[in-house]
Amino acid sequence: MTGGKTMFEKVWTKHVIEQKAGYPALLYIDMHFVHEGPYQAWDGLRSKHRTVRRPDRTIAVADHFAPTANRDLDAAGPVVQSFIRKLSANTKDFGIKLYDIHDARQGIVHVIGPEQGYTQPGMTIVCGDSHTCTHGAFGAFALGIGASEVEHVLTTQCLIIEKPKSMQVHMTGRVPNGVSAKDLALGWIGACGTNVGIGHVVEFTGEPVRALSMDGRMTLCNMAIEAGSRTGMIAPDQTTFDYLEGRTHVPKGKEFERAVSHWESLSTDPAAKFDKYIELDVSEFAPFVTWGTNPAMVAKITDRVPDPSSFADAGMRKAATRALEYMDLKPGTPMEDISIDHVFIGSCTNSRIEDLRAAANVVKGRKTNSNVVAIVVPGSTHVKRMAEAEGIDKVFRDAGFQWRESGCSFCPGAGDDFLMPKSRCASTSNRNFEGRQGAGARTHLVSPEMAAAAAIAGRFADIRSW
């Protein structure tokens, strides 16, 4: 290994307990976030008479099924009650700290981790959710895992893991007006596809990335998995340190200075080599809207729904044909002509305070279209209260939006919040897969600003002219 290390390699090397030739590494996990989904992991622990190795490095929160219309659990559907109650019982049995639905610190796991200062640069972080890559925005190595691996980490605080490859996605050019972090994410995935990152850790670099706030960096890293990546990472810098300073679980005083000194050393060395390198000029990016059934099926707001026969790849032609059929869209339709009946502003991608401020700015003084049901689900109870202190909730309510309690809500569509067949939703979430928000529901991924504009116009609209 010549020439220096990438940030990922630095974090990796510091956490490998052992790696024998020809075998995966045993990797230590600094922080384990748990939500109510993979309850089988607790059943596994219990049936094998085992305990959690590091309760002090384990935090649980109810998010995927958290009721958002109100917090009355007895009034929620049986599935919601079951998942939420299981998490309460299991965390109690095993002595794990839980932010339940009545806790002021509750929220979507990938929002509250950073918010509470648990997520720090240089850490290894896991959670039983594929959008764990969000935490990579801090220069942590953050992995999504399944229920069996959740049990593995609870038991041993380790992962058995083959070392992933590394890929640099370097963004250049001036970011146009109206192009947000979400559009950078949709733009690069649209350009490079859903497979480009398989087996790779992606490091995002370049001025457009540096210029993002932490909320923006989290949005970008959140979508890394949609390109197939193991995870995404952004090197920590002053923006990161300013965000972290003073947060509950971040070291204070001299310890903070010591931590910053360590964090500064994590950046990729100038001579380090990546396995793959992609350079992307973002100066031609625009606000994006997905038209199809995966995040790469995306078009600029000023473009039209593509003709499937225009794709060079046979697989893509077939997929696009099917996608347009599912989405009930005709080739050649201007994106701005597509009407919607639902708007969802929420999810671990775009539900932080800056996202809500951006959407509120678009909505202020206007009213939602009479054909649209528009819903805002803040990413955490803390974000909700901050927004209320700024009067953002009033802006949304006055315009006709529902203002809800925090949770994953309409993104996974697994609890009480889901859409009916043939609904068409402008959503700030991360996946437009068939049936995700509800059987037969049609999802268009957009930024918070674009979702807000769609709620007002009743169709997609170019916020650059608003």
């Binding site: 307990i17 052992e18 075998y23 995966p24 045993l26 230590y28 993979p38 089988q40 094998k48 490095r57 099924f65 599935v79 998942f83 200062g117 720090q120 959710d129 594929s130 999504g144 895992i145 399944g146 229920a147 069996s148 691996e149 593995h152 038991t155 041993t156 605080q157 380790c158 058995i160 992933p164 859903t194 497979n195 398989i198 087996g199 197939g228 193991r230 509950t248 679980h249 971040v250 204070k252 903070f256 010591r258 931590a259 995966n294 697989g315 077939k318 997929a319 996974p412 569509g413 697994a414 889901f418 067949p421 996946r431 897969f433 068939e434 049936g435 995700r436 509800g438 059987a439 037969g440």
Partner: protein
């Protein structure tokens, strides 16, 4: 954890790329906490009125009893739900062959007894064609030899030593890691000052 060294089975082709785990097992169906078998590919398998969708490949009588899936690239992308693996295994699927897999899905497979085999595009295309055109197309997957064989071809595949041992020996990964207890404790002692998590 299913243990096997050789599997010979009927092959069913899923002629789509980027089959995500929401398709393999929709969230609202896995949330029911019922046995998962009936919900595999729930939104493809059934029409919206609950009747069987006869045109879905896994509903075709000639694929009944299939234990090997051949699918388009990036199979199992998306959500980390391990239920996607469990639902496939509950329906008797033991092997999935594709050009590539969602990373989390692949790792879940190794934990829960579904063997993911990556083969080059042309080989997957060959398997897809034969299994869709012919009735009763079988493959033998040999983990010792690391081969996929039919009546004409022998394709070699790559698999990590550890993953292979998981299937050959029915290895319990958690038990394996617990055997490294000394090393884990030593690591914790050595690095105890490293992470600043203020209380």
């Amino acid at each position: 954890m299913s243990q096997f060294s050789k599997v010979t089975g009927l092959v069913v082709p899923i002629e789509r790329e980027n089959v995500d785990t929401d398709q393999i097992i929709p969230g609202r169906l896995l949330a029911r906490m019922e046995p998962l078998g009936p919900y595999l590919f729930g939104d493809w398998r059934y029409n919206q009125n609950g009747t069987l969708n006869e045109s879905f490949v896994m509903n075709e009588p000639r694929y009944k009893g299939a234990s090997i899936v051949v699918a388009g690239k990036n199979f199992g992308c998306g959500s980390s739900r391990e239920h996607a693996v469990w639902a496939l295994v509950a329906n008797g699927i033991r092997v999935v062959i594709s050009e590539s897999f969602g990373d989390i899905f692949r790792r879940n497979g190794v934990f829960s007894g579904l063997l993911p085999i990556a083969l080059a595009e042309q080989k997957v295309k060959y398997l897809m064609e034969r299994s869709s055109v012919e009735t009763g197309y079988h493959l033998t997957v040999d983990l010792e030899a690391k081969t996929v064989t039919d009546d004409r071809e022998v394709f070699e595949f790559q698999i990590g030593n550890f993953d292979r041992e998981c299937f050959l020996n029915g290895l319990d990964q958690i038990a394996w890691t617990m055997q490294q207890e000394d090393l884990i404790a030593e690591y914790e002692a050595r690095t105890s000052q490293r992470i600043g998590l203020a209380p």
